[in-house]
Subunit: 476 residues, 2 copies
């Protein structure tokens, strides 16, 4: 039996988990077309994992027609989901070679389910693999070859029979149209209010004529129950990359994108971002992007160029996650510059991004620069950076970006001294959906621009609202 | 001019910052009498720091009739208030000898006010000192001798003229009745819904016949604006303690009480807990409690006994702070036992206490043990304890205390496996105002009691509610 593919109806209404339409202010974030990498097919289906009243797909397959290089980054949570344990093991065994796809389900997180849950994850992987090698897509045999991702409610077993029975029709649903990709993105959704998909073309210095592409699916943070923020990301490219280079590129990019996002400060048990590179768009005989030595200065121009492209692309994906943070009314960018140590600057940005008082204050359209400074002031306590003189109140400034005025910086606190800001200007800055603050730890007055500076640390976060509390408490 | 003392009207209505009555469920926390230490007087007055529509005092003096030993613990926030910088310096200069009192104001936090703000703090201290040495209380001269505390809105100057002019009538208001002490506690309040005061009698092993007493004032967490949780604590005893012993006793007790409290996870710029010991109840010739060597095993029986008394007493004070957490509906106790390292166990407890998802879940009366385990699972990442094998899922259990059933432990997760719990029992446990969870990292099945175990770490926290968001965002 082939289940009918769900049709995309995002123009006026988009059924998600609760069959709600996409909010008006989110529609601009859903692409109406895309440029998808060669040699990949994606499918999605309802396998009965989500509640029966949901019209969303809950089982997704992203498949490469040829064996691909694969890489993944995983949550470090020690109570991780079966998908994390299993897929980490798969990457270890294969060393990222001969990867054929990713099978992902939403609606059940398969956490705290012990060996039985782990067996289920392996069963999903093996069954998908078996169909891949029996399908006309097959060109080589590798076992195991399919990564697994789960997101949804925790501490319950997967309906594994339903899932395994749904794999044949899932294969039947494979395709490479924009609608296929968008439906796959829908299939990752849980409390998301819109599907998260992006794609782009690019070329590499060694083959400026060759057109490659890169596509990414991701999901927003949050589970209705049991209150666990999970993000998943699946990236596909038709550029040729060796497994070690792909792992390094993905890890570097994740460190400055997905690892710079905080919704509620809780690290999920299920987070996985995986990437496949199948080289299907490369001209014959092209050398893949490879890793040369350990340091970034040793790398080839292609590696360096692709690193930049991937980091920008994953920043866009990670920002989509924050754009759909549970109950959020604001998209908040936090930039920390002037830190003698980049790691310390990133840590300070993360602490501000987790400050409940900063986040409730910004919800209330209060610039709350006192709260930001208070967070800066305790950020390095009990860290290796404590007592290193990184925080110097008399050299510290806090600004907000005035988006209505070509992004100029408006200082609220300059080198240790509060600066009076006209109430009308504060209102203008804080009323916007996008709020951006710049904390300069070594303000010498030379920089008045919000443009990203070398060495600066960036975090993206959202506000804590009444709706956030309603979603996570179930009290409305 | 002597301003009239505010009268205590707590039986049916208690005007606090917003002139609201004490909530019915908080009245039991306000004492109707007390046992106050000899040789101390306290006063409070309206100095025009709080808004004119407040009927609360906003300037408080706690004075010892004789020079006392003094000790204090301070916030480590690098953007600390002037009171913190000044009082820390005072303790350094005096080495805790000849301390005469604490002057505290509410309504203005005196943060981010630079040298001018610091001068104001010193001016408060000097003026209070000057009146003390001119007053009949005087027996010896020490300069400086008065600690300063601020709490209230940040980044604004104190109305220092009003404050200095109010010091003479503040001295006129001094007294040692229960009403004096309760009004002093009211004078520390900001967004508190009830004044926080406690006192007790005790004796020491070396003088079992002598009756000493210990009194403490404290304040709840939270400022309406700019969203900064501050706690202050002032403790007075008439037992004799040397300054070095007092500092050690206070630090030890603070580490397991005030430093085990989290409301919103933000470390204030203003926190100070100070203690005065004047020995006024000691028989002539009694040796004060002193510090012997560095380790706890070197200490005298009096030191050991007083440490236990002080820690219990300060636990009660710290719990009063959490009982009045902004917008909270729950008082949550988190116990982590079985950790190979006490410090790691305390860190895990602190991370659970800060988990926004755990706290919103408990607000929704969801036991949310998945969220607790997720927090345990990421608690030690990027800490010195990472990778030490402290978290072992198969040895971990999570229980909640069933208060209605003699405090028995109800396991929700036992040695890595979820345990089904009857919905009625979950409801009964989670409906209570007091919710207590026990996380056992090395559950060997031997312990079924919630009673505190040797080496166990405890944190007290509150839930995150719609009211919390309303208070901290200003959106209602």
């Amino acid at each position: 039996m082939i289940r009918p593919l769900l049709r995309c109806r995002f123009s006026t209404k988009f059924d998600l988990f609760h069959n709600n339409p996409i909010p008006a202010n989110k529609r601009r974030l859903v692409p109406t077309s895309g440029i998808y990498p060669k040699g990949f097919k994606v499918g999605s289906i309802r396998a009965g994992i989500k509640p029966p009243d949901s019209s969303q797909p809950d089982l997704v397959l992203v498949a490469s027609e040829i064996p691909a290089s694969g890489a993944a980054v995983f949550t470090k949570n020690e109570f991780c989901a079966a998908s994390v344990t299993m897929s980490r093991e798969l990457v270890r065994r294969t060393q990222g070679q001969g990867i054929r796809g990713v099978i992902a389900n939403s609606g059940c997180a398969n956490t705290l389910t012990g060996q039985a849950g782990l067996d289920d994850a392996w069963a999903m992987s093996r069954e998908a693999h078996r169909h891949l090698v029996n399908s006309p897509l097959e060109t080589a045999r590798h076992d195991p070859s399919v990564l697994v991702m789960h997101t949804g409610a925790g501490a319950q077993r997967l309906p594994i029979k339903n899932i395994l029975q749904s794999i044949p029709p899932l294969f039947q649903s494979l395709g490479n149209s924009h609608t296929h990709w968008l439906n796959a993105a829908r299939g990752l959704c849980t409390t998301d209010t819109f599907p998260k998909l992006t794609s782009r073309r690019f070329s590499l210095p060694s083959a400026p004529e060759t057109e490659f592409s890169l596509a990414g699916l991701t999901k927003g943070a949050g589970m209705v129950h049991p209150n666990m923020a999970t993000t998943l990301g699946i990236l596909c490219t038709d550029a040729p990359v060796t497994p070690p280079a792909l792992q390094q590129l993905l890890r570097n990019a994740a460190d400055e994108t997905y690892n710079c996002v905080s919704i509620d400060g809780d690290t999920s048990t299920n987070d996985i971002v995986a990437m496949l590179a199948n080289g299907a768009a490369a001209a014959k005989g092209t050398s893949p992007i490879d890793l040369h030595g350990g340091s970034s200065s040793d790398q080839s121009p292609d590696f360096v160029a692709f690193q930049r492209i991937l980091s920008e692309f994953m920043a866009e994906m990670a920002q989509l996650v924050v754009r759909d943070a549970e109950g959020a009314s604001k998209f908040i960018t936090i930039r920390v510059r002037g830190s003698p140590s980049h790691a310390a600057g990133k840590h300070i940005a993360s602490v501000i991004a987790k400050s409940v008082l900063v986040k409730t204050g910004i919800y209330g359209q209060d610039a709350n620069w006192h709260g930001i400074l208070a967070a800066v002031g305790y950020a390095l306590l009990e860290t290796p950076f404590e007592g290193q003189g990184i925080i110097v109140p008399e050299q510290t400034s806090v600004s907000f970006v005035n988006a209505s005025s070509r992004g100029e910086l408006v200082k609220f606190f300059e080198r240790g001294v509060p600066v009076p800001v006209h109430a009308g200007l504060v209102k203008q800055i804080m009323e916007a959906e996008d709020v951006e603050t710049v904390i300069d730890l070594r303000d010498d007055g030379s920089c008045t621009s919000a443009a990203r500076q070398e060495g600066e640390a960036v975090y993206w976060t959202s506000d804590i609202t009444h709706d956030f509390v309603s979603i996570n408490s179930g009290i409305h």
